[in-house]
Symmetry: C2
Subunit: 322 residues, 2 copies
């Protein structure tokens, strides 16, 4: 088995490919990266999109093993992989990959995960499991005891890891609701060409988060209109309104996590946050306001550690077979 | 003063004009109706849009007084009227109308209302106040004691009426969130041309409402994803998913009303619901599931009763002046 491989994080809106070298000590080195179109945006087909992203590496390395994860394994992807049920260990995930040949490349799609919550609802993820597997490699302590991870993004995933297994997780639409409300609702209006949606105002964010966390039950539905009324009555500028909305939504997400029956936030030593830097900092800040410690892990590095773990498990399996 | 007048409910997306005859006993008769474009959709200007809607009545009735309400009095409307602060009585609303002449017509714009909630947030409305004023005319008992009104729509307005005054109200974005999520989120997808978003499935609706009402605090943010996961795992069809979403959102709205600090739902004899028939029935059903009685009032009739009250108060004022 070669010591080099290609990891492909292939989501709905983009493909990111990474050329990696596996080290003997279980670590890896990132040698190069490349990008392409997401699953919902590949007019030329999946095979061509993938080869376009990785073929430059063939001259130096030959046809390396390709490990893929994300929506590429969904019903709108290249090959559909069934969700694997939690609780599940990293080794079980690795050995469930769907392997096929394409133009001389051996391609593995890592399946997504599903779980059933205490309220009987199913939940599911595709792609984020690599971040969890990666985080579990970071420290041997992560494979013992109970840990809560928060993966903010378009959909926040709150993940409970217990004794080296992914036990269950919950999805919140926090990021998607932010985009919908900030861009398409009456709450934030009349944005001229100079309007900067990304400008962040910390005070307004804090006000939104505090409002949610200190309100009566149901404050989300009856409090959301404050994004508009605070502008109408001169308490927020348009720019501040988006930060206030962000605080309100992240506050609601964390408030839900505080009341989740599946875990007790107060009994967790700290929450690990894996996400984009600005989002991670916002979640950490609101958690801190509730007296909860957190630690931020870098998302790309953690994802690649997950692919690396899958690669090592697969190599191990090949060794056991031969 | 003529016994006939024209009532114009002019909102963001449409104009509705009504030719009415005021009766001596304080009631009215609706003689004709007409329609036009909303405030955000009037390319030909407000004056022309209004005249286009009402000029057909001039030949028989002359230039009747025109009473208008809604977004036409907002910052994006014809003439901006400042919000009137609650608590406020119907007479105080009537005498605060902005009156101007246009092409020989005497036009009055009834201003919107604002209030300050216990959490210090402002709230506001434009147009719905006519429904409240109308309901207050329906029965002399409505002008005594404490009453809770629920006006479902794009934005639900929960209104507390006390001793003949509109005391305060709270806005929930229930209808707008439904439209955003049903049409633009990942929760409800891949709708072919045959898909009927309006098809209503009572069981799925009930399931959504019950889920919200019986969940832990914060269930909205962590429960919304069930709209998608229940489809992925075969518990809801695409058609059922929209009804389930509706139940989940209306359940969240009512849950918030159950926990509002401004009133106590359990101590209210019944809730009056004024809205479109299907929405009103849905709200009544969820309230009943929580043991709360409700009574439905027809929205157009109630709105016109409100305009009629404004007309009578104005006539009274003219009489007092002369």
């Amino acid at each position: 088995m070669p010591t080099h491989y290609i990891a492909v994080d292939w989501g709905t809106s983009r493909l990111r490919a990474f050329l990696c070298e596996a080290k003997g000590d279980g670590s890896f080195e990132l040698l190069a990266r490349s990008a392409g179109l997401g699953v919902s945006k590949s007019p030329m087909g999946f095979e061509e999109t993938l080869l376009h992203a990785i073929s430059a590496w063939e001259a130096d390395y030959g046809k390396l093993p390709v490990l893929m994860a994300g929506q590429i394994g969904s019903s709108i992807g290249w090959k559909e992989t069934p969700y694997l049920s939690c609780p599940i260990s990293p080794g079980e995930v690795a050995k469930s990959s769907l392997v096929f040949e394409c133009q001389g490349y051996s391609i593995s799609i890592v399946p997504g995960l599903s779980c059933r919550l205490e309220n009987d609802n199913y939940d599911c993820m595709r792609g984020e499991e690599l971040q969890i597997l990666g985080w579990m490699q970071l420290d041997s302590a992560h494979k013992k005891g109970r840990h809560l991870l928060c993966l903010p993004g378009t959909h926040t995933k709150w993940v409970l890891v217990e004794d080296g297994k992914i036990k269950l997780f919950k999805t919140a639409l926090t990021g998607e609701l932010f985009d919908l409300i900030a861009n398409h609702s009456v709450l934030i209006q009349s944005q001229g060409p100079d309007f900067n949606l990304a400008a962040f105002e910390q005070d307004a964010f804090d006000k939104g988060a505090a409002f949610t966390l200190n309100s009566e039950v149901g404050s989300f539905m009856h409090g959301l209109f404050s994004v508009r009324s605070k502008q109408l009555f001169g308490e927020l500028s348009k720019e501040q309104a988006t930060s206030y909305l962000s605080g309100l939504l992240i506050g609601s997400d964390i408030r839900a996590a505080l009341h989740a029956t599946e875990w007790s936030l107060s009994s967790v030593d700290q929450v690990t946050i894996i996400g984009a830097p600005h989002l991670s900092r916002s979640f950490a800040r609101v958690l801190a306001s509730e007296g909860i410690r957190s630690k931020i892990s870098k998302v790309t590095n953690t994802t690649l550690l997950g692919f690396n773990a899958i690669y090592h498990y697969s190599a191990q399996q090949l060794k056991e077979i031969s």
